[in-house]
């Protein structure tokens, strides 16, 4: 039996009827059509599917869409404003924080939460906080540099 779900994604409201077993990541990618959120390991480890739900970074492969009825979601598509990259995206650009780019959307959404919780992270803290995002290309070194760049360029909190 399908159930109604309603949620806000990147400021836009969506309503659909979905099977309870539909995973949130598939809802986002296939029902809503936002394919920036990736499916990597599909076992809650790699973090490629990371999105923000009500301000918290979560793995959208480990949710049923019906659980998120009423939620406020932000995906990688919600970061850039008016064609201008978010400082975290710019940091990955400036410091070459990616190679193939598959893990990057999830990385960036995790970093979004990281810099909210820890605006001036040490390298050690960055590496600990990135444990849920696996990258098989970069060796993480430039990702850490990208995050340090982003931390320096984030707009001051009001």
């Amino acid at each position: 039996m399908k159930l109604p779900v309603k949620m806000t994604i990147n400021g836009q409201s969506y309503s659909h009827e979905v099977e309870p077993r539909l995973l949130l990541v598939h809802y986002i990618r296939e029902t809503v059509g936002l394919t920036g959120t990736h499916v990597g390991c599909d076992t809650s480890q790699c973090g490629a599917c990371t999105i923000l739900m009500d301000g918290q970074a979560v793995k959208s492969c480990t949710f049923f869409a019906v659980q998120t009825d009423g939620a406020n979601i932000m995906t990688i598509e919600g970061l850039a404003k008016d064609g201008e990259l978010h400082p975290i995206q710019q940091g990955f650009w400036e410091k070459h924080g990616l190679q193939c780019g598959f893990c990057t959307p999830g990385m960036i959404m995790s970093v979004y939460q990281m810099l909210e919780r820890y605006p001036k992270p040490s390298e050690e803290l960055i590496r600990h906080q990135l444990e849920g995002n696996l990258c098989r290309c970069t060796g993480y070194h430039n990702i850490v540099k990208a995050i340090e760049w982003a931390a320096e360029h984030m707009p001051a909190k009001k």
Binding site: R21, L23, T43, Q56, F64
Partner: protein, 289 residues
């Protein structure tokens, strides 16, 4: 991956949830944060016909102090424990344990009660709960009952919770004066589960001798266990490096160590001893010894 089809329920009270549980019995599973159950459903290791989501049940989330006990609602997330000012001030080791679970995204969703009820053999909380002497509060149709941690873990992913009950609260006593506690683990590189993890809580007497040592070991066997040999080895002793080494040498005794992809029985037994030594050393240091 697509789990088997199921019917989804989101009850608004414990009573309503218990009603659904009573109606669907073995065909039903309770859903908390979902970070153990949903991966199992995706692999079809679990195929419940009815999923009872507790997210709308009020009163199951949050941390408060109740005398010398920290009361943790079963739906409290690991991140809530990790970031709680109350936990940091009253029982900081709980915050540290929470901060070592999985990764930040997992901690945002995974719950203390879910972990304790799921009883994964490599989960972090069970070792900590053993060392801290926690109690689990279960609610059923007839009311609430409390189960001590030593009676809680029955076997591989098996606990004392009744099939018609819901774990609603975890009660963790605050450590007395001159006490220290630590949890250290050897994490799996991808999942961050404990290949072996040891939690130790030590209380010293007026002369700096060990008045009480409480030690839990997770990861190595089919369930987390109390390391009774280590505890006995500590009791009444001045816990210097040699005494800790001697006590920790008993850490794999009583553990049904399982060989798996992470290591042989010999290797994991060795990790038990190494991490018992490190956890005890840190706990004693924190106790002021």
């Amino acid at each position: 991956m697509y789990p088997a089809a199921f019917e989804y329920h989101a009850p608004g009270s414990v009573k309503e949830a218990l009603g659904l549980l009573g109606k669907h019995k073995d065909d039903a599973k309770l859903l908390a944060g979902g970070h153990s159950l949903i991966p199992m459903m995706k692999l079809r290791l679990a195929q419940p016909k009815h999923l009872i989501d507790l997210r709308k049940v009020p009163g199951l989330s949050g941390i408060k102090q109740d005398g010398n006990v920290l009361s943790i609602g079963a739906m409290t997330t690991h991140w809530q424990v990790e970031s709680s000012a109350l936990v940091k001030s009253k029982l900081a080791v709980m915050s540290e344990v929470a901060g070592l679970i999985g990764d930040p995204a997992v901690r945002n969703r995974g719950t203390v009660g879910g972990s304790i009820a799921h009883a994964d053999p490599a989960a972090d909380w069970p070792a900590a709960m053993i060392a801290l002497g926690a109690e689990m509060v279960c609610e059923g149709a007839k009311g609430r009952r409390t189960v001590k941690v030593d009676d809680w873990l029955k076997g591989l992913m098996s606990t004392a919770v009744g099939e018609d009950e819901i774990l609603v609260e975890i009660r963790v006593p605050v450590l007395p004066a001159s006490s220290g506690a630590a949890y250290l683990k050897f994490p799996h590189p991808a999942s961050r589960f404990a290949v072996v993890g040891v939690a130790a809580a030590v209380t010293l007497d007026g002369k700096g001798m060990c008045a009480k040592a409480s030690v839990g070991v997770t990861g190595a066997g089919t369930k987390a266990v109390r390391a009774k040999g280590v505890e006995a080895g500590c009791a009444g002793k001045k816990l210097d490096a040699a005494a800790i080494e001697a006590a920790a040498s008993k850490a794999a005794e009583g553990v049904d160590v399982q060989a798996d992809l992470q290591g042989s029985v010999e290797y994991k037994s060795h990790l038990c001893r190494v991490f018992a030594k490190r956890a005890l050393t840190e706990a004693v240091k924190r106790a002021g010894g």
